[in-house]
């Protein structure tokens, strides 16, 4: 019973932290979508039209997911979307790394910082693990 209660608290804290991360990341990108579009383009994976559309949409998707996480509404759905986004970003990063493309992360809106592939990959693997753990928490009944 105590273990379950501790787990419930831990999952709540993790949910809030993840919500805060993605609300912040989404807000930073929503602040300057033109810059974010260029960051997406720096991966040299997508046509410009798609990069522009994603630059306008993805920040708001992150923000909405963050809000739902905070409010504990549609939690599994929000976590599912964030996991997919993180996986897609990891795939794009791996592709860019393999091709030796010099990318600008754009993850938190500051596209000035040139990417350290190892650091970004490591960071996002940790993020994905946290999302997955949280998803498993909330896919069980009672949480």
């Amino acid at each position: 019973m105590e273990t379950r209660s501790s787990m419930k608290s831990f999952c709540s804290v993790l949910r809030w932290v993840l919500a805060a991360i993605f609300l912040y990341a989404g807000a930073m990108k929503a602040w300057d979508p033109a810059r974010f579009a260029l960051d997406i383009a720096s991966y040299q994976l997508l046509p410009e039209r798609v990069a522009v559309a994603l630059a306008l949409y993805l920040p708001w998707l992150e923000i909405v997911c963050g809000v739902f996480l905070l409010c504990k509404r549609c939690t599994s759905g929000a976590l599912g979307i964030l996991m997919i986004l993180t996986l897609l970003f990891l795939a794009a990063l791996s592709s860019a790394w393999f091709r030796g493309v010099d990318v600008h992360c754009g993850c938190f809106g500051f596209s000035n910082a040139k990417a350290s592939y190892a650091w970004m990959t490591g960071r996002d693997l940790v993020l994905f693990s946290a999302l997955l753990f949280c998803f498993k928490c909330y896919s069980k009944k009672g949480l």
């Binding site: 602040w31 300057d32 810059r35 010099d102 809106g109 500051f110 596209s111 000035n112 910082a113």
Partner: protein
């Protein structure tokens, strides 16, 4: 008008023929081009009714690549047509594909070599040298596949100061006046995160 210069061409010339279809003489006051690379010449300025003429437009290719669009404005004293706009499109063939064409280091960053991949886009062209125009950068040319793929390693001597250099990629084509193409290298100030909006 669309022009297709060959790889060995350093310039192309287009001829725009015209005639005075009116009933009174027309004078061409001036011909203005959209850049210094394009020059236009006329045999004479005044044309009687029915008289034909030709504007010769020369475009210098220089270091340009890809599709170029140039405008030539012809100013006349004809009140019905005081300005005529001529357009020319020049499709310059790509001899070398240089990726990336620009490598940079931040001030204080480790002065490690960065690689530029050079792909030859046609036959019978070889990259024979990669010369750094500034003492601040060293360049080393490596042949990956003869006549097709090369690697240029560029290394700054130091990253303590800002500096910019040109890496001139010399080819052996055409044999009488071989062309060269540029890549660039720079050491720049660190970009500030706080300067984002």
């Amino acid at each position: 008008m669309e022009l297709h210069p060959s790889m060995s061409d350093t310039n192309v010339v287009a001829q725009y023929a015209f005639h005075n279809g009116g009933t009174y003489p027309v004078a061409i006051d001036s011909v203005k081009t959209s850049c210094g690379c394009t020059t236009a010449t006329l045999d004479k300025k005044n044309y009687a009714p029915g008289e034909k003429g030709e504007i010769s437009v020369n475009f210098d290719i220089g270091q340009r690549v890809g599709e170029q669009q140039k405008e030539i404005m012809v100013f006349t004293n004809d009140p019905r047509e005081m300005m005529v706009l001529l357009r020319m499109k020049i499709l310059i063939p790509e001899v070398l594909r240089i990726a990336p064409p620009f490598v940079s280091w931040e001030k204080g960053e480790a002065a490690q070599a960065k690689s530029i991949r050079v792909e030859v886009m046609s036959t019978n062209v070889h990259v024979v040298a990669a010369l750094s125009g500034a003492d601040a950068f060293k360049s080393e040319l490596r042949e990956i596949t003869a006549g097709h793929e090369y690697q240029v390693l560029v290394t700054p001597v130091t990253t303590t100061n800002q500096m910019v250099g040109t890496i001139r990629l010399q080819t052996d084509f055409p044999s009488d006046r071989p062309r060269s193409f540029n890549a660039y290298a720079a050491v720049r100030e660190k970009a500030s995160l706080l300067s984002a909006p």
